[in-house]
């Protein structure tokens, strides 16, 4: 199959790859570029583990063709920490024990980040709504909801 070029910004650095036409962004990120933070849970849009942020929007990388991302700005969970300092959401997940096996965690963090970027002080219902496309086998969700509310509170304290 003919290869197609694709070029985008991933976590602040330029990436360019030749990929098979039809390759998902999930596959391109994990197996071509080596960013394994998005997880492949179902590969059909039903678990949220592969969530990434494309041009500020939450997207499922398993349902996104890599070749449609030319020129896009993509953020994944592995790009959130800066100089070894964890992002407030990552901290909040640690502090509230919101991770067990961790398979859902990067997707949850992506969903939470998009929520907090648009709405720094969400209500509990808004957090639940934002996480409702992501499934978790281990935690029972409550610690994850708490993590997002914690991170929002930490943000607003820093802003004040």
């Amino acid at each position: 199959m003919a290869k197609v070029p694709v070029q985008f910004t991933l976590n602040g650095s330029e990436k360019a790859e030749f990929i098979d036409s039809g390759t998902t962004l999930l596959h391109a990120l994990r197996d071509k570029i080596g960013d394994t933070s998005p997880k492949g849970g179902c590969h059909q849009g039903t678990c949220g583990a592969c969530s990434v942020i494309i041009d500020g929007e939450l997207r499922l990388s398993c349902l996104t063709l890599a070749e449609t991302c030319n020129g896009a700005v993509i953020t994944t969970t592995s790009g959130l920490s800066e100089g070894g300092v964890l992002h407030p959401l990552q901290h909040a997940f640690l502090d509230t024990f919101a991770t067990q096996c961790g398979f859902c965690t990067p997707g949850m963090i992506m969903a939470a980040k998009v929520l907090l970027d648009h709405k720094p002080n969400p209500s509990r219902d808004e957090v639940v709504e934002a996480l409702s496309g992501n499934i978790c086998r281990c935690t029972g969700y409550e610690p994850i909801i708490q993590a997002v509310l914690h991170a929002a509170r930490a943000n607003s304290q820093n802003a004040a």
């Binding site: 849970g41 179902c42 059909q44 039903t46 678990c47 024990f97 991770t99 067990q100 096996c101 961790g102 957090v127 639940v128 709504e129 996480l131 409702s132 499934i135 086998r137 281990c138 935690t139 029972g140 969700y141 409550e142 610690p143 994850i144 909801i145």
Partner: protein, 334 residues
């Protein structure tokens, strides 16, 4: 046609580990040249916190801070044998094996320190901060870092230990059939409150109050994390999850996450967790197994609550609207 309230209670007695052909786990502990300690295991951490707990157990036994211990569970082909991480057995079985291995390593460590300090090993104690002191004369001391260097480069000793924990196979007595399937039991009790819509058969769990007796909680936050997740999973088993809704017929089984149902973040019952600590006699520092058992009592509690609400006994899981409606119909026909 109405929404009916019901309340159900259930209590369970849950064995830690299993007993088929005997239930063993082994562990190895050794020091690095700089006095850090490695625990080698085949027991797997699948998110329940096995590595953290084994590091705590090893550190406590040897007398070093937890961050001086690294747990390696890399390869079940090459590591010391473990039956596996299931049946709530990891902390109990592997923990006991780690204690035994760490004790042996500690003994060698104290012997090397004794040679360095020219005292008897039995006169030494650890301060938990990485030092070995002479009892009653703490000004006479040596760091574990220096002891490990000495062992490796001067005295030719291996600061290491072997650990093994085996619950032997228990055979039933011929006369009575009595046997001892386990040595250690955790306990739990759950009260669930539900709403049942007797027109649609839909069940909403309003509150779940759980009390768990789990021996000593070696890491209370991680225990709580297990119990909160487990309580949710119990509800999920009670009301939602199945791969074979018409078992043994495979038809209509869910084939993806759209069809295989679980409660999402918007379907959570108000959940309460209380932990009772009753240290077990044969557990590592008194621990029992909280892992699997914590997802069990919710199931009979919800079944009882449904009975309390609408008077039908559902004895097949999950308790789906279809099963409730069929039972209500049968009840009305009688």
């Amino acid at each position: 046609m109405a929404i009916r309230l019901g309340r159900g209670v259930a209590a369970i007695n849950y064995p830690t580990g299993m007993n088929l052909g005997g239930d063993p786990t082994q562990a190895l502990v050794h020091s690095t040249p700089t006095g850090n300690f490695m625990v080698t295991l085949s027991s797997v951490d699948l998110g329940q916190g096995m590595k953290q707990i084994m590091a705590q157990i090893c550190a406590e036994t040897i007398g070093v801070p937890t961050d001086r211990v690294v747990v390696d569970t890399a390869d079940t082909d090459t590591g010391p044998h473990c039956m596996g991480t299931f049946a709530s057995r990891g902390t109990h079985r592997a923990g006991n094996a780690v204690i035994q291995a760490a004790k042996e390593a500690r003994q060698v460590m104290l012997e090397v320190a004794a040679e360095e300090l020219e005292v008897n090993a039995s006169d030494l104690e650890t301060d938990g901060q990485g030092n070995i002191l002479v009892k009653g004369a703490p000004q006479k001391s040596i760091s574990i870092f220096d002891v490990a260097l000495s062992a490796h480069f001067k005295r030719g000793r291996s600061i290491s230990g072997r650990g093994m924990f085996l619950i032997p196979r228990s055979y039933p007595e011929k006369e009575t059939g009595a046997m001892k399937p386990s040595t250690c039991y955790a306990h739990a009790c759950t009260v669930a409150e539900v709403e049942v819509d007797d027109e649609t058969g839909e069940v909403t769990v309003l509150t779940v109050k759980n009390i768990f007796e789990i021996g000593r909680a070696l890491n209370p936050k991680m225990v709580e994390q297990q119990l909160v997740g487990g309580s949710w999973m119990g509800i999920s088993h009670a009301l939602y999850e199945t791969t074979e809704p018409y078992y043994p017929n495979r038809d209509h089984g869910g084939t993806d996450f759209n069809q295989y149902l679980m409660p999402g973040p918007g379907d959570l019952a108000e959940t309460e967790i209380i932990v009772l600590e009753r240290p077990s006699a044969d557990g590592p520092y008194g621990a029992k197994g909280p892992g699997e058992m914590c997802a069990n009592p919710q199931i009979p509690a919800v079944a009882n609550a449904v009975f309390d609400a609408v008077g039908v006994r559902i004895d097949t899981l999950p308790i789906t609207p279809e099963r409730i409606l069929r039972a209500l119909k049968a009840q009305a026909a009688n």
